[in-house]
């Protein structure tokens, strides 16, 4: 009797399968994942890294010019290029994924905040300040954050004078940009090597490409909310605003960097990178999974964030934080709403793993 029941059960099951109306041959989910990852790599990641490499090259050229002739004009051009490079870096920073993340190369390019005491000590202790010297230093005294400190530490004149008076300082700055260029090249090469692995990581485990992208969006929004907005808003200090905790506050580019990060969040979700052929993103994947309701919610949340960012203006958050903290708090609320939808609704719905499993489940 039980054998017959089991046989009947399977018969019924086969019947159910036969009735299923799904065109699986052309719209396989696995193929859709591949399409998304390929689009992200080809239209998003590789161009972003190429653009950062170009920005790092320009930065280094201006650094050389400034080293030779430390004039105010050159300093201004140098500073402007730093802002370009930092903004360009934000696109790459978003893609701290898989083997790239394991290599910790992102730390070598941009670790914030820079350790000022240690940086000053490193400069004054250096006898021969060159690329090798910078290469041997820890991530707290190198990279974009250290360059920002040296370039923007004071008003133009004082800063210029400090370079003119202290050649070690100018040498260190030159070595920093040379090292940044090296790292930008190395990072681009790493993506060249890792790219095919990334686009072929179609598995649903934590190292699957789609999982890595969901986690990248989550990390970007969480870090922006907590560090770039929350801490300056005074979340960790009883509500007392801490302007000095704004990201890149010396260069007054905090808002630009938040905007750059958000642009990448949006592009990676919608897949609509410049020059993208397929524009395939999570939005298309949600459509494939037939969850238009969730997609509409996320789209609305993205649009809301964008509108609030536009209202806040830029490029710095400092003045807005001092005069209209409620507007900044609203931006944080909008980011939180988007974060919620991606981190729990979307991740849960597509079966993405947000937290690396420390244990089994049952």
């Amino acid at each position: 009797m039980p054998t017959k029941s089991i046989f009947l059960f399977f018969l019924l099951a086969i019947g159910m399968l036969a009735c299923e109306d799904v065109a699986i041959s052309e719209e396989r989910l696995l193929e859709q994942r591949k399409l998304q990852l390929t689009n992200t790599l080809q239209a998003g990641i590789l161009p972003a890294h190429q653009s950062f490499l170009s920005a790092a090259e320009s930065l280094h050229q201006l650094s050389q010019t400034f080293r030779t002739t430390p004039t105010e004009d050159h300093l201004i051009a140098f500073r402007k290029q730093w802002k370009e490079a930092a903004s360009s870096w934000k696109r790459c920073e978003f893609y701290d994924l898989g083997e790239i993340s394991d290599s910790f190369i992102h730390f070598r390019i941009y670790r914030r905040p820079t350790n000022i005491e240690q940086l000053e000590e490193t400069i004054s202790n250096g006898e021969l300040i060159d690329l090798d010297y910078v290469e041997s230093q820890g991530s707290a005294v190198i990279g974009l954050a250290a360059i920002e400190y040296l370039l923007f530490e004071a008003v133009t004149d004082t800063s210029l004078q400090s370079f003119q008076a202290d050649t070690k300082r100018a040498d260190y700055l030159l070595a920093l940009t040379a090292y940044l260029l090296d790292q930008a090249q190395a990072l681009q090469e790493s993506w060249g090597d890792y790219g095919p692995t990334f686009t072929n990581s179609l598995q649903s485990s934590i190292d699957g490409g789609q999982n890595l992208l969901v986690n990248a969006i989550v990390s970007a929004l969480e870090e922006t909310n907590k560090d770039a907005i929350g801490k300056p808003l005074g979340e960790a200090s009883g509500g007392i605003a801490k302007l000095e905790l704004l990201e890149a506050h010396r260069s007054s580019s905090s808002m630009s960097l938040i905007k750059a990060t958000f642009r990448e969040v949006k592009a990676s979700f919608r897949g609509d990178y410049p020059n993208s052929e397929s524009n395939y993103g999570f939005d298309d994947y949600l459509v494939a999974l037939k969850n238009k309701e969730l997609l509409d919610k996320i789209d609305t949340a993205i649009d809301k964030c964008e509108a609030t960012l536009a209202e806040l203006g830029g490029p710095d958050l400092k003045s807005t934080l001092a005069t209209k903290p409620e507007a900044v708090a609203q931006l944080q609320l909008d980011f939180t709403a988007l974060l919620l939808l991606v981190k729990i609704d979307m991740a849960s719905f597509i079966g993405a793993i947000i937290v690396p499993n420390e244990s089994d489940g049952d």
């Binding site: 159910m16 399968l17 079966g351 420390e358 089994d360 489940g361």
Partner: protein, 441 residues
């Protein structure tokens, strides 16, 4: 259906002891190798204790926790080989249960199951056959354990399956094939059969097969005629779950568990078929009765085992949403749930506020679990209280902004925003959980 005294000779118990002991030993070694001693016991700043077991804490220095897991593996190994069995099984039980009780965020049904089996084995002399003790023993004066011992284990495993089946009677499981519909679509990368998981019918098929399996497998295992088929089903079902889901040792523990249903005479026939000669028994007769105190104890145990899985049905409108009494009730693989929580600390008199992101204080697993479990949200608030009270001059209040999604539904606010978590008791938190259909508007 029931083993008779004449057909019983303790081989089945011996085989179960060996396989279960070895599995537990491997499980402990795996725990060590994966670095989970650090992740679970040492890394977290605080631990989510079980109610009434708040006193269970990790020992310091740190190496002691590693030592305890090693000892647990060693004790399990001694259980498997049947050497110093009584001491080893009692040590296994206390060590494993102690390690399990430290951290609620790491609760797993199969950890609980292992603890129960170890507890039962403390009262079951399972070392009469296929053990080093019987190998070295010269005396044949002792009586073999009564067959009821094996039935105690069979009954326990049957209850697990049955209540796991009963727990699946939720509208999500029955009508929407959730959460399998979500999980299977994520598993389209499984070789050969992955493409099948895109079909919704497969999710329904798996849901109903899982339900039928849980409700019926114990009956099939008890029945001599259907037992071979049942054993095949057990292996097929659990191997499939092992391939599809990240559920660690659970499938293997249940496969091993099914071996206890095989009667001793069937084992004898199987060994004879493969021309394996078993060591001669070292007992003189089979005892038929159990001491009365032990019968009472087993009776009490099964009474509790009936009560615990039934509790959620009396206290919840939707147990998946509230999770009140959800643990220890064999609610296995029933939901895809995720949450997000941020805490706000207020000092009303001064107007000061702080925002706390749980990942600044909790491990990833702790945060993940706390985000959607009311009792843990309450516990985290209690943990924050002394930390932030030090920063404030006046009494503080703690609020949570918590959102939860269940089985693919849109996320909903979980607890009221204006609920001061310091003003309520842990158990009361469940009463404040907002309904699943609640909207902020």
């Amino acid at each position: 259906m029931r083993a008779t005294a004449t057909s019983f000779n303790g081989v089945g118990l011996g085989i179960y002891r060996i396989t279960f002991g070895l599995l537990l030993c491997c499980s402990s070694i795996r725990f060590l190798l994966k670095g989970w001693v650090y992740d679970c016991y040492l890394a977290p700043n605080m631990h989510f204790s079980y109610r009434y077991f708040e006193w269970v804490k990790p020992f310091s220095p740190e190496w002691l926790m590693y030592l305890l897991v090693v000892l647990c593996a060693l004790a399990s190994f001694l259980v498997a080989i049947g050497l110093f069995y009584r001491i080893a099984i009692v040590c296994s039980f206390f060590l494993f249960t102690y390690l399990e009780l430290i951290e609620k965020a790491w609760y797993l049904n199969h950890y609980y199951f292992v603890s129960i089996i170890l507890l039962l084995l403390c009262f079951i002399p399972a070392d009469h056959r296929l053990s080093l003790k019987s190998y070295f023993s010269k005396s044949k004066a002792r009586a073999l354990t009564p067959p009821i011992y094996a039935n105690v284990l069979r009954l326990q495993i049957s209850l697990v399956y049955f209540f796991a089946g009963l727990a699946k009677f939720t509208s999500d499981w029955l009508w929407h094939a959730l959460p399998l519909k979500i999980w299977l679509k994520a598993k389209v990368d499984v070789p050969l059969i992955g493409w099948l998981f895109e079909l919704e019918a497969i999710a329904y098929l798996f849901s109903y097969f899982g339900l039928a399996y849980d409700l019926g497998i114990a009956f099939l295992l008890w029945n001599k005629k259907t037992r071979p088929l049942a054993l095949l089903l057990v292996v097929a079902f659990h191997v499939m779950t092992a391939v599809l889901f990240n559920i660690g040792m659970f499938p293997w523990i249940m496969i091993v568990g099914s071996l206890i249903f095989v009667q001793d005479d069937e084992w004898e026939k199987l060994f004879a078929f493969f021309q394996i000669k078993l060591p001669a028994p070292t007992f003189s007769k089979v005892s038929k009765t159990l001491p009365k105190w032990l019968l009472v104890l087993f009776g009490l145990h099964f009474f509790v085992q009936l009560l615990l899985p039934l509790r959620p049905y009396f206290y919840n409108k939707n147990k998946l949403w509230t999770e009140r009494y959800y643990r220890f009730a064999w609610n296995v693989m029933l939901m895809e749930k995720a949450g997000y929580a941020i805490f706000t600390i207020k000092e009303p008199q001064s107007g000061k506020t702080w925002k706390v992101y749980p990942n600044d204080h909790l491990s990833p697993t702790q945060e993940k679990q706390m985000n959607f479990q009311a009792d843990m949200i309450w516990q985290f608030a209690q943990y924050l209280q002394p930390i932030y009270q030090k920063k404030a001059a006046h009494p503080i209040e703690i609020y949570v902004d918590a959102f939860v999604t269940l089985n693919g539904r849109p996320s909903k606010r979980y607890l009221p925003q204006n609920l001061n978590l310091l003003q309520i008791k842990q158990e009361e938190t469940y009463d404040f959980i907002l309904p699943l259909d609640y909207t902020d508007d």
